[in-house]
């Protein structure tokens, strides 16, 4: 038995990666380890496990220009490829709205669906003097330089916007005074915050789940409409009087040039993934909140979000 298995393994090792073995390709527009990579790998795995595709999904990491390189590549070279899906999130639409992908616009691809959302969070170390969001906002109003935020995106990016939105909703308009450093991802940001180099971290729930459970951090607020299942003791910003909702949806886009039938087929498959028990387990384990929108429904929602982000970015001054 073992011998047979070894033989089979040897054969597989020798034939490994013949491209025909991978019918579907999922492009993660970043290096391995981030949120997009997570989306591709989890969705790819479930698509295969649930027998929605015939062969394992190949994940391609195409890092560059914050997702812009993959976007340009799909638009230019893969416009009619029905076997490719690309991971996307709020960061993708934020950058599109802020014209960070050059001339690319959101209508150059089709937005096929979101299957979960990573709630935005504002976090401090456990020994921080801030007990709630109100404490922190008051401290920043008194001395804007006293609180520095660390986040996983560049200045002006999605993580930076969260504290700015909170401050705006509290009636603080001098938002360029709010200190923010962009580091290499959420885990790095939380490390800097626990280490006391920054006073607070702004990021996504999934990035800090382990640290919440270990008690190293205190989540001041989660930026959702209602408390997140599994994390019921964490208050929302809204209930603390700051009307800010910022969730990082996890989803996919597909090339513009595929037929409506192909588009709908992908939408159905994503719905099936979202409905599966395995995906629900994955979501709870990783701090994701349910958020399913597929097909034309999602397309319409994305159009709305982009328009909103554009207005907000202009208000805050990220774009002119």
């Amino acid at each position: 038995m073992t011998k047979l298995k070894m033989l089979a393994t040897t054969a597989a090792l020798m034939l490994a990666g013949t491209t025909s073995a991978f019918a579907t390709e999922c492009i993660a527009p970043a290096n391995a380890g981030g949120g997009w990579d997570f989306t591709c790998r989890q969705v790819g795995k479930l698509l295969y496990d649930l027998k929605l595709v015939d062969a394992p999904v190949q994940v391609t990491n195409m890092a560059g220009a914050g997702g812009g390189l993959a976007y340009a590549h799909v638009v230019a070279d893969m416009n009619t490829d029905a076997d490719v899906i690309v991971a996307a999130s709020s960061a993708t639409t934020t950058r599109l709205a802020q014209k960070a992908f050059g001339d690319a616009t959101a209508d150059q691809v089709r937005w096929v669906g979101a299957i979960g959302a990573d709630p935005g969070v504002i976090v401090v170390a456990k020994d921080s003097p801030f007990q709630n969001l109100g404490d922190m906002v008051a401290a920043i109003k008194a001395d804007p330089g006293s609180v520095a935020f660390a986040g996983g995106s560049a200045a002006g990016g999605f993580d930076h916007m969260k504290p700015l939105q909170v401050m705006k909703s509290a009636g603080f308009s001098d938002i360029t005074k709010v200190k923010y450093i962009g580091v290499d991802g959420g885990a790095d940001a939380i490390t800097q915050t626990i280490g006391g180099h920054t006073q607070a971290m702004t990021g996504d729930m999934s990035e800090i789940v382990g640290f919440i459970k270990s008690g190293d951090v205190r989540v001041l607020a989660v930026l959702t409409e209602a408390r997140v299942p599994g994390f019921e003791d964490i208050p929302t910003a809204r209930e603390q009087g700051f009307d800010v909702v910022a969730v990082n949806w996890r989803g996919l886009y597909v090339p513009k040039g595929i037929s409506d039938d192909q588009f709908n087929a992908w939408a159905t498959k994503l719905q099936a993934v979202a409905d599966s028990a395995e995906w629900k387990e994955t979501m709870t384990a990783n701090g994701l909140a349910p958020f399913t929108k597929v097909g034309t429904d999602f397309q319409g929602w994305v159009d709305g979000v982009i328009a909103e982000t554009e207005t907000l970015s202009r208000e805050i001054g990220v774009i002119q």
Binding site: T2, G17, P56
Partner: protein, 507 residues
């Protein structure tokens, strides 16, 4: 003795005939991938992730296969460094400095054995370090903020002067060149393009792999065309291959010191294996002082970087497992694998998934033992490479380099860029400008700048913040000492006084 019980648990999941077989396959594949220029540990692991799924491996088996590949590439990287002066991957860069001169003297076999043993010591001891102290070590990462990282990078650049054979200005110039190249691309803080000329290919910067393959492999091709293969290690009479016990004994201390330095560098997420091997080499050079003949085939110059980079590979597992912060490209790929297996690394990983963590640690031990055993007989095979005539070997190196870079992005742009770096590397080598600092500059440039700018955001532009912690001050003192020591010592040249090791000994 919780640890021992856990370790036993780990071995019980990792030590089955099938997983052992996977470990051997992984080590072999990894060694080959690591030895090929352009294909490094991250590629190796990334290529094999889909394979792990295609084979339907469970979590432990997949981890065993991938750690074997990871360590295999770390061992393999040194082979082409020593035989051909072409590092198989970036952490093996420092091994060219003394490994290749040794090969030219007909001691390729010795160099391979010493570096193999050093690799084993580095990774084996660092795995033990990981077992004993992982949760404790995680807190080291908390101590390093922007100011401390900036001082750490500064230390690396300040000790560069010693890399150059004669002229320190040339080493400094090479570092500036690398740093300048690192500035190309989107600015991390503002997202604005810098020095890209509007080219989208450049917006993500220049991949250091393109630079390293160009500067080392392609420039070597030009050197061969110029000299028709004379003055290379090819065709030198090879001594009988035996285990160089004497050298091993003499380099034992080197290996221990370098392991310590490499491990600490690995634990710091911002440093990684390349910095680990660099620091280990420079520290050893400073420690040995003028009695060494570093750069001319000193066995200690082979042992130090290999022990250092393999120890760093083990150390890099600490922040990856306990904080979810990948310290290197490879640990980023391993992190991706864990996430795919629905395991989120973090402070509770050791408690929540002991089978996975200890299985991983056990597989690290297994991979290392397998590699050590495999490497001794394989050395005989590897040195045969030197019997291959240049007119076959060099075209092969060229083609492998092209395919390696082609597989990165599939664009002709990177290949052209690689050729450019090849021509540049040739000219620099002719002018006696060391190429190692260029690569180091490209690797660390944007990190260093980001650290500086983050520090200034936090301090509202107050530069004294850079010296605000004891760690930062210590690193600054070491950096200034490391910069001044060679200048000062040059005046004393000719008098064989042992170099004081106060400035460089970080151990």
């Amino acid at each position: 003795m919780d640890t021992l019980a856990n370790l036993a648990l780990g071995f019980s999941v990792a030590l089955t005939p099938y997983t052992l077989f996977l470990a051997i396959c992984g080590c072999f594949l990894g060694t080959i991938i690591g030895a090929l220029p352009g294909l490094g540990p991250s590629n190796g692991v990334a290529i094999l992730i889909p394979l792990a799924f295609a084979l339907g491996l469970d979590a432990t088996q997949a981890l065993v296969l991938l750690t074997s590949v990871y360590y295999g590439t770390m061992y393999g990287g040194r082979i082409s460094s020593i035989l051909l002066n072409i590092p198989g991957d970036e952490p093996a860069m420092m091994t060219t400095l003394d490994g290749y001169p040794m090969a030219k003297q007909g001691r390729a076999g010795d160099a391979l054995v010493i570096s193999g043993v050093a690799s084993f010591m580095g990774s084996f001891l660092s795995t033990i370090g990981l077992v004993i102290m992982a949760p404790l070590l995680a807190s080291i990462a908390y101590l390093f903020g922007p100011a401390e990282y900036f001082a750490l990078y500064l230390l690396a650049f300040c000790t560069l002067g010693g890399v150059a054979s004669k002229n320190q200005a040339k080493a400094a110039l090479a570092a500036c060149l690398g740093l300048g190249i690192a500035m190309i691309g989107l600015d991390n803080s503002t997202g604005m393009p810098r020095f890209t000329g509007g080219n989208l290919h450049l917006s993500d910067g220049i991949d250091f792999l393109v630079a390293i393959v160009g500067m080392f492999a392609i420039s070597e091709v030009f050197i061969f065309i110029e000299s028709h293969g004379r003055n290379s290690a090819l065709g030198v009479t090879l001594g009988k291959i035996s285990i160089p016990w004497k050298d091993l004994k003499n380099t034992f201390g080197t290996m221990m010191r370098s392991t310590g330095i490499g491990f600490v560098a690995g634990v710091l997420p911002g440093a990684g294996a390349s910095l680990g091997s660099f620091m280990a080499y420079m520290a050893e050079k400073g420690y040995v002082g003028s009695s060494g003949y570093f750069g001319k085939g000193d066995p200690r110059g082979v042992a130090a970087p290999e022990a250092g980079n393999n120890a760093a590979a083990g150390g890099a597992m600490v922040p990856m497992l306990t904080l979810g912060v990948p310290g290197s490209g490879t640990t980023a790929v391993m992190l991706a694998l864990l996430l795919t297996l629905n395991i989120t690394p973090g402070p509770l990983l050791f408690k929540d998934h002991p089978d996975v963590v200890w299985g991983l640690i056990a597989s690290m031990f297994i991979a290392n033992v397998v590699l050590l055993i495999m490497n001794v007989p394989m050395v005989k095979l590897f040195v045969k490479v030197l019997l291959v005539p240049a007119w076959v070997l060099m075209p092969m190196v060229t083609m492998v380099s092209f395919v390696g870079i082609f597989s990165l992005t599939g664009s002709y742009f990177d290949m052209i860029l690689m050729i450019f770096f090849g021509a540049l590397g040739y000219l620099l080598r002719k002018l006696d400008v060391p190429t190692v600092p260029v690569i180091l500059g490209i690797l660390l440039g944007s990190e260093m700048e980001d650290a500086l700018r983050r520090a200034m955001v936090l301090s509202d532009g107050d530069w004294s913040y850079l010296f605000s912690s004891p760690i930062a001050i210590g690193l600054w003192v070491a950096a200034i000492g490391g910069f001044l020591a060679p200048l000062f010592l040059r005046g004393k040249l000719g008098k064989p006084i042992p170099v004081s090791d106060t400035t460089l000994d970080q151990d």
